[in-house]
């Protein structure tokens, strides 16, 4: 008599997939700065401005538009937000990180196209890749700023940093892609503080008086 093979329990496979997927996602954490009274639920469409290169060491070639701007738009879209690449001009060399973190209201109101309200600027602070003994590593730091054109203020700011690296022959061969991997990882962590747009965290129009708290769950409490 041949022993009957036990069918593989699909639930086990699903569980494994879920565990792996959970390991790859970035859990929500509070941002470095969020304007008091502001809720990300009010944000319907995010216009992403041309990225700002805040690096001192610019020796690593980075396609800022592709690796920062488009990648940010993709991450936010995956989170359920409507994103648009704003055709606003680059902030220019005269602008510094301080100007982005403590912006002038008039400057914010001039950002982007008319009709766009929530403006995001992603800034590359540092990126480096290096061949170390027995492998290669990459580090990256990015900062993003979300502005409200309506009142010309910064409403959200956060920072993402990533440290990637791989030992062995494969790691040594991957040296050239370490900076890109580090930027991707840093962006993933950066936007971890923006909650996913889900049924529990839907878009809610901003109430006329922003001083009144929402009746629904706030982003922080809903997660």
């Amino acid at each position: 008599m041949t022993p009957q093979r036990r069918p593989v329990d699909m639930r086990v496979i699903y569980l494994c997939i879920a565990v792996v997927a959970a390991g790859c996602s970035h859990g929500w954490r509070p941002p470095l700065y969020q304007k008091p009274g502001f809720h990300t639920q009010w944000v319907d469409k995010i216009a992403i401005l041309p990225p700002f290169d805040a690096r001192i060491d610019k020796s690593t070639e980075v396609d800022l538009n592709e690796q920062l701007r488009t990648a940010s738009a993709n991450i936010l879209t995956d989170k359920g937000y409507v994103t648009v690449l704003s055709e606003s001009s680059n902030p220019g060399p005269a602008v510094t990180s301080d100007d982005l973190a403590e912006p002038d209201a008039a400057w914010v109101r001039e950002l982007g196209a008319p009709g766009e309200r929530w403006m995001m600027m992603v800034s590359l602070v540092d990126v480096t890749s290096s061949m170390v003994f027995f492998g290669s590593t990459g580090n990256a730091q990015v900062v993003a700023y979300l502005y409200d054109k309506k009142d010309g203020t910064l409403v959200w700011r956060d920072k993402g940093a990533a440290q990637v690296g791989q030992g062995g022959l494969i790691g040594m061969a991957l040296k050239d892609s370490m900076d890109e991997a580090a930027i991707n990882e840093a962006l993933g962590r950066l936007f971890a503080s923006i909650p996913d747009r889900t049924a529990n965290n839907p878009y809610i129009p901003e109430p006329p008086d922003t001083g009144v708290s929402l009746t629904g769950p706030t982003p922080a409490s809903s997660l």
Binding site: V20, G23, C24, S25, H26, G27, W28, R29, P30, L32, I56, D57, K58, S59, A94, V95, T96, S97, D98, D99, E102, D104, D126, T128, S130, V132, F133, F134, G135, T137, N139, Q141, D158, K159, G160, A161, A162, Q163, V164, G165, Q166, G167, G168, L169, I170, G171, E185, G188, R189
Partner: protein
């Protein structure tokens, strides 16, 4: 992944907060690939193994294992002790020029007290316990750094041979000017000013005509240290950085006469060569580069 097998670099350059390890979850899976390649690489070191394992004998197999272990440990020790983190040099933009080359005829130079700003990179997997200013050393810890920045700025300013208002020792009216300018140091060191800042500068120019302010700032970002996980092959270089910035700004027009910035990929350590080189490069230009 065996977290316990992760080796951290005993990098004395890094203070305790910077040694905190944050492991990217995706890299753990990605690192599994490395687990296959690292033993393979060890096996490739046949010459070293051969050198270790002669003469042949009954216990050759055991000796080979021993040698492989020695080689592995030596490789790890080499990475651990000589990691890139300890051989850091300042990075200076190629456009930087020395402060002494700035035209400064009949300028009165106001030397502001430098600012040291210490920040911590957000951890990867610390959802709700994260506090941005956690583990930041108290302000008093930055005092030796401030003093060293100040001495370097004063030395560089002396080369301009201007009339000098030293905010560290200023009294009476000059002390009042310094007090007005102190909150602007961060912005001025970046070579930028706000409308409010420009009005303060304009006011200072009325009291002290033909003046310029020299502002210096050190931005320290504390990040995770270097690490190597022998189980997965996953590794990372230290993330902490120190950004030195200085700028000379005219009071009456808020025009930036000179500015420079230097990046050191390490925590500032007064005794390290990298720190001394950074300060030198900040005021003297790109004599030192990677």
């Amino acid at each position: 992944m065996a977290r316990g097998r992760s080796r951290r670099l005993p990098n004395t350059c890094l203070p305790a907060p910077a040694r905190q390890r944050s492991e990217p979850a995706c890299s753990r899976i990605h690192g599994a690939l490395g687990a296959l390649t690292v033993p393979f690489l060890y096996r490739c070191l046949t010459a070293a193994r051969f050198a270790c394992c002669i003469p042949r004998g009954l216990a050759q197999g055991m000796r080979q294992d021993f040698c492989a272990s020695v080689i592995r440990r030596a490789a790890l020790a080499a990475f651990v002790s000589c990691g890139a983190a300890c051989s850091v040099h300042p990075i200076v933009p190629p456009t930087a020029r020395p402060l002494a080359a700035t035209p400064s005829e009949s300028l009165t130079l106001i030397l502001l007290r430098p600012v040291v700003r210490i920040d911590k990179m957000p951890p990867a997997d610390a959802p709700l316990s994260f506090a941005p200013n956690q583990s930041v050393p108290p302000a008093s810890d930055g005092e030796p750094l401030i003093r060293s920045l100040y001495d370097a700025a004063k030395g560089a300013a002396a080369a301009l041979q201007p009339a000098l208002i030293d905010c560290q020792t200023a009294e009476d009216g000059d002390a009042g000017l310094c007090k007005q300018l102190d909150p602007l140091v961060g912005r001025l060191a970046h070579g930028s000013t706000t409308a409010d800042g420009r009005s303060v500068l304009h006011h200072v120019a009325e009291v002290q005509p033909n003046c310029a302010v020299l502002a210096t700032q050190l931005d320290v970002e504390l990040g995770p240290g270097a690490y190597y996980n022998s189980a997965t092959g996953q590794m990372g270089s230290a993330m902490s950085t120190s950004a030195f910035r200085a700028a000379l700004t005219r009071c009456d027009t808020a025009e930036v006469l000179w500015k420079n910035e230097v990046l050191l990929r390490a925590v500032p350590d007064l005794d390290s060569a990298g720190y001394t080189e950074s300060l030198h490069a900040l005021f003297e230009g790109p004599k030192v580069s990677r």
